[in-house]
Symmetry: C2
Subunit: 221 residues, 2 copies
DNA sequence: ACAATAATGTCAGCCACTGACAGTTGACAA
DNA sequence: TTGTCAACTGTCAGTGGCTGACATTATTGT
């Protein structure tokens, strides 16, 4: 069995593949439903496995850790964002390209998510992550890995080498930090819609340049 | 027993306090020594406890998790940095104050660390953290908590409210991301001295403004 | 229908971590 | 000095995440 199901490959092929994908998605749904309802720590793998009627061992053949299943959907979102970023015209400045890619990715994302779980469940998951220390840690580590990829893309756009020029990583670090901040504030606000997270994101991204420039007292917030 | 030993309080008082602090520090030393030598994952709590000749249960009365003991020294470093930041003159712009506080903190840090463990061991610990996924995650989460504190300090400097004005958090997010980047690159470089990490930090911090401004092709890196 | 192969279940076991209870040791007053 | 109280420690039993090994069942290509 190959656990890599990343590029939604399950479409073609035989019964075995379809069955595999079915339990895979069922595990995600069960896990998110249980965790968002009763809390991540108070949900055991045995419960999740039992809900899908497989053994605990089988769960661990699909997801290497308990955290993994929580981020399975995020993974798809991230892939979308990377695509959008690579498609940005070379004329845009790095930070500008990042900004536009995020906002575009948020737009037609609902479709993709809905094929696996209800969007509403995904939003609740996002909020659960931000309020669970263990998941915050995991989320940050994943973001950090993603940053590395983004930095490479940015470097290529500008014709630079990531290893020798620190600037691609620097913008990405700043960008990424702000993205996380926006996500966290959105989670705390309780407002659960896709529009609201888009708006919060946009607002914060547009605050980067003036905030860094440091002329805080000249202009109103 | 109170596990909070944060403000190095052990100086005064009786035998009991001294004994407590002795095993506390001994556990740190043993843990770091063992983990840096044979790897974090391949080191068990039982080994650490046995090296200090206490029970496993006692270990968990001093440190709530295995990760905690690894970051015990970092905690002191962070407290130092916060002090330095609060002492910065109000005339400095936010990012400028952050920059100067970090560089100052690095200077007279050796003294403080040495009272607990050899500085060289602390440096090796730093590198171990960056090369151990579980610890990277923990480190990121801790940094994220620290960011919140820093943002509050910055907001007070500028006479703003952290909850309504996103700008303090935005600079801090950018600053923090860059700090981590510098730390990671330093770890990968293999160079273990305090000077080299100070230099790397300085270089990257000074890169923030131009990188965000986006005029990459006008000036040489 | 029949191998070859892949997915699953079962079982035993490691390790981080916790609660409960009992034993030990330092602090402090009589 | 001694006895009492409180703090610290050890032991033990148990939970939950996670893994390796091996047997069992299910699909696939022939």
């Amino acid at each position: 069995m190959r656990a890599e199901m990343t590029p939604r490959e399950g479409l073609r092929c035989g019964l075995r593949e379809r069955k595999k994908r079915r339990t895979h998605d069922a595990l995600i749904r069960a896990a998110l439903e249980l965790c968002t309802q009763q809390g991540y720590d108070r949900t055991t793998i045995d419960e999740i496995a039992e809900a899908v009627d497989v053994s605990q061992r089988t769960f661990f053949r699909y997801f290497t850790t308990k955290e993994d299943v929580v981020f399975a959907v995020q993974e798809i979102v991230e892939a979308r964002f990377l695509e959008a970023l690579r498609a940005r015209p070379a004329a845009e400045a790095p930070l500008e390209a990042l900004r536009n890619a995020v906002l575009l990715a948020w737009d037609d994302l609902g479709q993709v998510i809905e094929s696996i779980i209800p969007v509403e469940l995904h939003m609740r998951t996002y909020q659960m992550i931000e309020s669970t220390p263990a998941l915050v840690a995991a989320h940050l580590r994943r973001s950090s890995d993603l940053e590395e990829l983004i930095a490479t893309v940015i470097a290529r756009r500008e014709g630079l080498d990531v290893e020798t020029d620190p600037r691609p990583r620097i913008v990405v670090a700043a960008f990424s930090g702000v993205m996380r901040l926006a996500g966290r504030l959105w989670g705390e606000a309780g407002e659960c819609s896709v529009e609201s997270i888009r708006a919060t994101t946009e607002q914060h991204l547009d605050g980067i340049v003036p905030a860094i420039a440091g002329e805080w007292r000249k202009t109103a917030p």
